[in-house]
Each structure stands twice: as structure tokens, then as C-alpha cells.
Symmetry: C2
Subunit: 271 residues, 2 copies
């Protein structure tokens, strides 16, 4: 990852993301992170014991579209030294979720007391990065227009399993015209490290989705005349899969309450 | 990885790569693999005990340009089920290298007797994929013209370490004109999963390379008037780094004797 903001030529040195993390660490910011430190890459978080970590990392490697790895920490280290040096993953997310044996056990503001020497943190790319590129290209992002969550659906497509980790691909959906879908494919293809090109366009049934008006996660959005649904692999997939495998302990971010890295969204484009 | 040849529309079902692997398994083909089953993705091989595998996988994730992971097998399984289902990594490489505590211990034609229940195999992308794209774009690949090995150099750039694994970036070099270097950058940027864009163009000293005529691995090639050296991250990096860490056991392919997957080179392009 060469996109560390500490080497930005403009000398900005990642101030925005660092400031935002500090506010979060101090408890001054406890809300969702959409719109915070624009242009800095936000990430999904999954924390697992080392016993499960190698299996989970192979799961992510085998399913790179839903599970694009931005960083995997050393066992016991809460610092994502590559993507946000100096940050602390125990305190720098506004809201966490804790699961024990797969059962939800609260939404704390930090996980200092949960931390152990055998925990490994996975930072996984998030659709905020490519949505910024879609908007910059004049393409519609309906849930942003409607100020709600992106609609997400469990599909009939199984991810490639690894060890104890297996489960269906989850996709997010953005409606647009066929012409816009073509440009959106070009734009998001440039970001293979954060979900990349869509996985499907047009027919929800091809993915085993019965009713676009009833998403499994997030909110329903309007689909206008002449629009088709465009589906991208979604970062909810690894969380859903990890939870379903009922590990002894799993910690994630709470939905919408992401981790802010020092990476520069624009620098994640490969071309 | 959606590039499995078993879903090729032309119904070829990976015959060429499968046939080549069978010839290798039977001992009928024992030589280098360049030019074998053209269009099928060839891979570097590193096999390590499970104790080292999670560290090594994090090393690869942190250094994706030299170490692009195509597949990581389940511990104990010699089958790369994603990229070459039915293959056997103990027999399907023409020539192996075995290292014990970092010391070279022979070049067997198979490693059936070395196999253990705790071994993990890493298949890592290889420059053959993007060289095919360079040639298809009319760009020069000098070592192919000169029928020798690509020149490779240890640089002064350190990879990002992980666990016991640390060491310098190794690069390969192909001379071309400045105009050709621009097109080569476009072409190889489409293949982020197999080394991607060059890491440097023009000045060997910027990488800490003293003498282009004295490569650390491979052969010297001619640099013609008006040509500049173009450097790509090289798949020798993970092997060199793994060997330097002196693991109890490491098995690799012998240079030039790669593993043939069922992946389609063309389908590795992201755009």
C-alpha cells in the first residue's frame, strides 16, 4: 500500500483522518463516519482470535471482491501500522459490536477491556471509496440522495469457503440508467482493492434476490423509470460470514461507524 | 478469482494447462515452463509449515506488488482447489527446490516424500502474464528476444516486514524507449494481481542498483541507444525473503519451472 498520507506531496500528512480519529478516541465524535475526513479511505473492521485469523485471511483472499483486505495487523497489536500509523483500533472507531460464540453482546464505544494478546484485526475496503468516484463522475448514488443506508441483499451465490468460514455473497445495489451503468463499471473497475467492478447488472433473480424493495440490510431506495439495478460485492459479506461461523469472540465496527485510515481514496485507483 | 478455465465460454475447460500438468506429473516434461500452455497463468510456488504461513501471508498482503497472491491452500492440502482443481502441488511442478533451515538441500522432481499435514502452499503471480500483454501490444521484451532469463536486482528498498519475514524488494528490468515505457505502464496497470504497473523508470541509482550489467539473478540484457530501464516488482522477492528467514522447511519451484494454473491470463485484467 503506497497510499499512506504521510507521504502526500502536498504535506497534508493525513491531518484530517488523524484529527477525526483523535476526536473519536476522546469520545467527542460517536456518530456515523460518512462524510468525515473526505477523501480518506474508510474501512470495515473485523477482529478475531489468532486461532481463526489464518482461516479468515484465506477466506478474504479467496473472495477478494466482497473482502478486499486493506491491512491485517500482527497478532496482539492494535495498531494498523501500514494504513494508519499511530492509530489504536481499540478506541478509534466510534462504535463497536461485540459477539461471543456468534451472539450479539453489546455496542461499546471502545474495546480496551476486550483486547487480548492473540487478537488480529482485519481492515476491509468499503464502498465509500468508489461512491466518491461515482459522484465525481456525475453518476447517481440514490441512497446518498435519499439520505438513507445503501440497500444490501444476501444472494444465492456462495462465497468460496476457507476453514470454518463459509456463506453467501452479500451485495449492495445502486439504481442507474444503462448508460450510467456502463460508466459506473469503468469508474469502479479502477478500484479493484475496494470491491472493484459490479458483480451484476439488471436481473435481481440471477442473484437469487426476490424483492428489491425488501433488502436484507440497509434501506429500500427508489428505482426510477428507465433505471436498472447495479450490484456490487459488499463488505458486509465478511462480517456476516464471520458471525455465522460463531467464533468464540468477534469484534466489528457498528454499521456506518467505520475506521478512518490515512490512505487517500484517489491513490487506490490502479489506472 | 473468477478466472477459472472450467467456466470458459469456449468450452476449452483448461485442457492445455491440465494436459501440461499431467505431462509434468508423469515425468514426461521436466524442463522450464515458459511457452507451455500459452495464455494460462503460471505461478511462483512457496510452501511453508503452517507455523510460518500466517506471517508469510501477512507479508504478501503488505507487499502486494512483489507478492501478488493467486491462491493459498488449506493446511495439509496439496490441491490448489481454486486456481487448478484436481492438480497436485507435490508432483505437478517440473522441478522443485528444498531448503532446510534456509540451506539449499536439492532439486527433486517431486516432493511427495516431503509432504506433511501442516504444509501450506502459496501460489504467487508471475511476470509471464504481463509479458504476454506487453508482446501483444508490440512492446519489446528484451530477454525473450535474446532467449535468456530476465535480469533481476536486489534494491535498497525494504519490503514491509511481517513476523519473521523481512527483506529487500527484488525487481526485474526490461529496457524500452520512453514512449514504450508509457504504453507499458498502461498495459501492466491493468494487471494489479500479477505485479501491476512498474515501480520505477529511468534511474537505477534511485533503487540502489549500481550496475545494470551485473544483475543479482538472471541474465544481463542489451540496453540500446534511446532506451531507459523499466523496473517491475518481481516474484523472486517472496522466495528470497522466505529463504533469508531460514524456516525449518521451505519448498519452492526451481527457477523457470513454474506451476501452471487453469486461470486465463487475459481474464486477470481489471479493465
Amino acid at each position: 500500500m503506497s497510499n499512506r498520507s504521510d507521504i502526500r506531496e502536498d504535506g497534508a500528512v493525513g491531518t484530517d483522518a488523524q484529527q477525526a480519529r483523535l476526536s473519536i478516541r476522546r469520545g467527542e465524535w460517536t456518530g456515523p463516519t460518512a462524510g468525515l475526513a473526505p477523501g480518506f479511505t474508510q474501512a470495515n473492521l473485523v477482529i478475531l482470535p489468532a486461532d481463526d485469523a489464518f482461516d479468515f485471511m484465506r477466506f478474504c483472499q479467496r473472495n477478494p471482491k466482497p473482502c478486499p483486505l486493506l491491512e491485517v495487523t500482527d497478532p496482539g497489536s492494535p495498531e494498523p501500522a501500514e494504513t494508519a500509523p499511530g492509530a489504536d483500533l481499540r478506541t478509534d472507531v466510534p462504535r463497536y459490536r461485540v459477539y461471543r460464540e456468534g451472539e450479539f453482546d453489546g455496542e461499546p464505544g471502545d474495546v480496551v477491556d476486550e483486547w487480548r494478546d492473540d487478537l488480529v484485526a482485519f481492515l476491509i475496503g468499503c464502498s465509500f471509496t468508489f461512491e466518491r468516484a461515482l459522484l465525481a463522475n456525475g453518476l447517481p448514488v440514490r441512497h446518498v440522495e435519499q439520505r438513507c443506508n445503501v440497500p444490501m441483499y444476501r444472494t444465492a451465490r456462495e462465497c468460496t469457503p476457507a476453514g470454518r468460514f463459509a456463506g453467501p455473497l452479500v451485495v449492495s445495489m445502486r439504481p442507474m440508467t444503462g448508460e450510467q451503468a456502463i460508466r459506473a463499471t469503468q469508474v469502479t473497475s479502477r478500484y479493484p482493492g475496494v470491491h472493484g467492478a459490479p458483480v451484476h447488472v439488471g436481473d435481481p433473480a440471477a442473484l437469487g434476490i426476490d424483492d428489491l424493495a425488501a433488502p436484507d440490510y440497509g434501506d429500500r431506495v427508489e428505482i426510477r423509470d428507465g433505471e436498472v439495478p447495479v450490484f456490487w460485492a459488499c463488505g458486509v459479506t465478511p462480517q456476516a460470514v464471520a458471525a455465522a461461523s460463531r467464533p468464540a469472540l468477534m469484534i466489528t465496527h457498528a454499521p456506518g461507524h467505520m475506521f478512518l485510515t490515512d490512505l487517500d481514496d484517489d491513490r487506490l485507483a490502479v489506472l
